[in-house]
């Protein structure tokens, strides 16, 4: 299987978003809703108050991490579907450190975050190792690793750190990255320090890939592993490294949620979904740091705005899952968007001729 992503220009994500929202509008029309007022209430739900903005940023934060994770792996020629699982084990590791260690905050927070990065990194490195040493395609192994992570984290919470309800105990206040002054700034929204960490890592990813010797190797291995091997690079080690870094990024996302938003981890019957959304974020961001940030803002806003839309105009929240699915569909089938762009380019030419 060949999983090099096709390159596409900035127009493709843009057209894909528009097309997908049109599909969403059709779905709403068929069900008897007014798509215009629905989308209006949707935008209302994102921007209309500092509180809503803060909550949107909260929603965006984990998506930056998982988007970066998937994008980083893509850049190095790997398809990491496992951000979901890496996110879960990262969250578990951070929360566990948050619960069981008693440290001053300036040690406790970094340690919890580091634990998450390592846990997520190792969870990613296993498929990386299997790919490098045994030639196993990472798509299947990462899918399977997601389920293992899902079952395992639930089991560990239930067995070793369960509170009264279906969740873990609370972390020590010293491990929390949620700060009152920041929340107060946004009328009590659950925004937290994670967004700063996320933006920092977005920059670090760019720097690593494009400015360092290690990044040069990773990009070479990613675009053509045979040529990289021929040029004397250690392809296997680079694959494992890339998957470790990718997994660590996803794991950091887990830490950010665990330490920032909730302060605990729930025993869940469904996947959180941010890892899978990360794939869409990376795709829409063309696997660049800045693109991932923008993609995460879009998806975070979509997800958060949809909750408001359900309340304000009664359209089921799931409409946004349909829209997101179609965004992915149109980006994957980029030929559709490209041909539309081609048509758009022709139209102004013709009207110019007509006007002259």
């Amino acid at each position: 299987m060949n999983f090099n992503m096709k390159k596409h220009n900035i127009g493709v994500p843009f057209v894909s978003i528009i097309l997908a929202m049109l599909v969403g509008a059709v779905a709403m029309l068929l069900a008897g809703y007014n798509p215009v007022s629905a989308y209006a209430s949707f935008f209302d739900g994102i921007f209309s108050s500092p509180y809503l903005m803060g909550e949107t940023i909260r929603q965006v934060t984990p998506l930056i991490f998982t988007g970066l994770a998937v994008a980083f792996a893509f850049r190095t020629g790997l398809f990491n579907i496992g951000a979901e699982g890496q996110f879960l084990v990262g969250q578990l590791a951070a929360v566990a450190v948050g619960i069981f260690f008693k440290l001053p905050f300036f040690l406790h927070i970094p340690l919890a975050i580091l634990a998450a990065a390592i846990a997520g990194g190792l969870w990613g490195a296993i498929p990386g190792y299997l790919k490098a040493k045994r030639g196993v395609h990472e798509v299947i192994t990462t899918i399977m690793m997601n389920w293992i992570a899902f079952i395992l984290t639930n089991y560990l919470i239930r067995t070793y750190m369960k509170a009264e309800s279906e969740r873990s105990m609370d972390i020590q206040p010293t491990a929390s990255i949620s700060f009152e002054w920041l929340s107060d700034l946004f009328q009590g929204a659950r925004i937290h320090l994670g967004i700063v960490i996320a933006l920092l890592f977005a920059f670090l990813m760019y720097f690593l890939l494009w400015r360092t010797k290690q990044g040069f190797e990773l990009r070479a291995v990613g675009s053509n592993s045979l040529a990289a091997k021929y040029a004397g690079m250690n392809v296997k080690r680079n694959i494992i490294k890339a998957m470790f870094i990718s997994g660590a990024l996803a794991g950091l996302g887990g830490a950010s949620e665990g330490l920032g938003v909730y302060g605990y981890m729930t025993i869940s019957s469904v996947f959180p979904g941010v890892g899978y959304d990360g794939i869409a974020v990376a795709l829409i961001g063309s696997n660049t740091s800045i693109g991932v940030i923008l993609g995460a803002i879009l998806f975070g806003a979509l997800t958060f705005g949809a909750q408001n839309m359900q309340m304000a105009s009664d359209v089921p929240y799931e409409i946004i899952r349909i829209v997101i699915a179609f965004i992915i569909f149109f980006i994957a089938s980029s030929d559709i968007a490209k041909s539309i762009l081609g048509l758009l380019r022709k139209i102004p030419l013709r009207s110019r001729k007509g006007g002259a």
């Binding site: 390159k7 360092t212 010797k213 040069f216 990009r219 070479a220 053509n224 045979l226 040529a227 004397g232």
Partner: protein
């Protein structure tokens, strides 16, 4: 003088023969490039008609149009003098056209039988009637002298055999016009002779053969007529008996070409590479090298001749550290390099022009300047404490672009944007620039046009003249014979003979390449 002959003379009209194929004014454009530009071309029934042209001249495109794989933008096709619209291969097959592709179109984990009947399976009720199919195929293979084992898996049979499967595929579908796309590229001289007689058999049974090739000698021995294509246009159609090698070469390239390479005598210098009893396995875990002994001295070119798949790739990979040897010893200028990594070996002085530049030599998504430091980016001049020095990487690129005349919009252009010849120049520039002790050149000119080939041959000879050792691996016997100072013939993972090119004919090499001793046996 051949120049006195009237050029562009058409041979038809003297005596009107039935036409098997006629293509009129065919034009085909890819991404704004005219691959075929108003090509008209006629093939008489029962002849072997060669289509001659350089790599990239447009011959394969034209034949892919005839076979329905591409559609022409303009033009008309007549089969047996009846207009035909061929919009997919099935239509071509129905019209009696068969094609033997250059890269065989075989499913390698299917059996020979399954490959032959695919798409035209005889049925008994719902199931495939394999018995009926094998009987029919056996009849055909007896008729045309194509002996094969129907139940072998394709991946287990030799390349010569695979070609026979390809021919049987077309015959099984009742083809009476057979297109051969560069059929001799991977065969030994003996296999080529066998193929020649198969083609003659075919025409004597009334079938028509179109032979795509860029090899002049082949045309003179096999074909009746030849159409020369240059840069997408027909420049002439000639009867073979009325022409000669020099004239054909000129028409193909569009200028006078020296068929002989000027090569000065050169005393060989000290021992650079020596291999002792080197053994290695291939990707499937089977023994590929059975104890190779080989020496290469400074100032000489040692050519490795052999049919594809006899261990050449594995040999190069073992020397360059890309493949682990099972046992044996490799010494480079006094240093033992056995068991070292690719990078360590490269640093010790082995440069490598890989056999497949797209797969191995370059990273298409990277820029030219990045590709030019692909195996030196970690050195002090390009890298400081883990950070890349972009300025010096670009300066280095500009130097090589100048020195090796690489045609590119800029050093920051993606290497994908360069032509094949310029990509290969970039690879050669990178490898030679490192001042190696030994240069390994594997298939260095495959798929390039004559200009690029000349340039690359010149570079290889320069290296030798400067006292470097050169190991040349090629399937093109002419290339081996004209460049090498010594030729080592490889067969089934063994060096079966080392000969002097000045005292060896292609026939003798061919026998060695097929595992037979050159002296005892005679040509069948």
């Amino acid at each position: 003088m051949p120049l006195l002959r009237p050029g562009g003379q058409s041979y038809q009209g003297v005596k009107r023969m039935a036409l098997a194929v006629e293509m009129k004014n065919i034009t085909k454009t890819f991404y704004g490039m005219k691959a075929n530009d108003d090509i008209s071309f006629q093939v008489e029934k029962g002849e072997i008609h060669a289509l001659l042209g350089e790599n990239g001249a447009g011959k394969s495109t034209l034949m892919n149009i005839l076979f329905g794989l591409y559609q022409a933008d303009q033009g008309e096709i007549l089969i047996h003098e009846t207009p035909a619209k061929i919009s997919d291969p099935q239509m071509a097959i129905d019209l009696g056209i068969g094609m033997v592709h250059q890269h065989f179109m075989l499913v390698d984990n299917f059996t020979v039988l399954e490959n032959i009947i695919l798409g035209a399976e005889p049925r008994k009720r719902m199931s495939i009637d394999y018995n009926k199919a094998s009987k029919e195929i056996e009849t055909l293979s007896n008729q045309y002298g194509l002996k094969i084992n129907l139940n072998s898996q394709v991946r287990d049979i030799s390349i010569g055999m695979q070609q026979k499967v390809e021919i049987l595929k077309t015959l099984y579908r009742g083809a009476d016009i057979l297109i051969f796309d560069e059929p001799t590229a991977v065969l030994t001289p003996q296999e080529i002779q066998e193929l020649t007689s198969i083609m003659k058999n075919l025409t004597s049974e009334g079938k028509t053969v179109i032979l795509i090739t860029h090899k002049l000698k082949e045309i003179l021995t096999i074909a009746n007529a030849v159409t020369v294509i240059r840069r997408g246009k027909v420049c002439d159609t000639l009867r073979v008996k009325d022409t000669n090698e020099v004239e054909l070469a000129e028409k193909m390239v569009g200028r006078k070409v020296t068929l002989q390479l000027n090569k000065d005598e050169k005393e060989r210098e000290g021992l650079v590479l020596s291999l002792r009893d080197v053994r290695a396995k291939d990707n499937r875990g089977l023994d590929a090298l059975h104890g190779i002994d080989l020496e290469v001295y400074g100032g000489e070119i040692v050519g490795i001749a052999g049919v594809d798949g006899n261990g050449q790739s594995e040999l190069v990979e073992v020397i360059t550290g890309l493949r682990q040897a099972q046992s044996g010893e490799m010494i480079l200028a006094g240093n033992n390099i056995s068991g070292l990594h690719t990078r360590q070996i490269h640093e010790k002085g082995i440069a490598h022009i890989p056999e497949d530049r797209h797969r191995l030599g370059i990273v298409m998504d990277m820029t030219l300047s990045e590709n030019l430091v692909l195996n030196s980016y970690f050195k002090k001049e390009f890298n400081k404490r883990g950070l890349l020095n972009e300025k010096s990487i670009k300066a280095h690129a500009r130097k090589l672009i100048d020195k090796f005349d690489i045609r590119t919009p800029s050093e920051s252009a993606k290497i994908r944007a360069l032509s094949g010849g310029n990509q290969q120049k970039a690879v050669i520039a990178r490898e030679i620039e490192g001042d190696p002790k030994l240069l390994i050149a594997a298939q260095p000119t495959r798929g390039l046009d004559v200009g690029a080939i000349e340039f690359i041959h010149r570079q290889i000879l320069n290296e030798r003249d400067e006292g470097k050792a050169v190991l040349l691996v090629s399937f093109e016997l002419e290339e081996i014979l004209s460049l090498s100072d010594r030729i080592a013939v490889i067969y089934e993972g063994r060096i079966v003979g080392i000969v002097d090119p000045k005292e060896t004919t292609e026939q003798e090499l061919g026998l060695l390449m097929s595992g037979r001793s050159a002296r005892k046996e005679t040509v069948e």
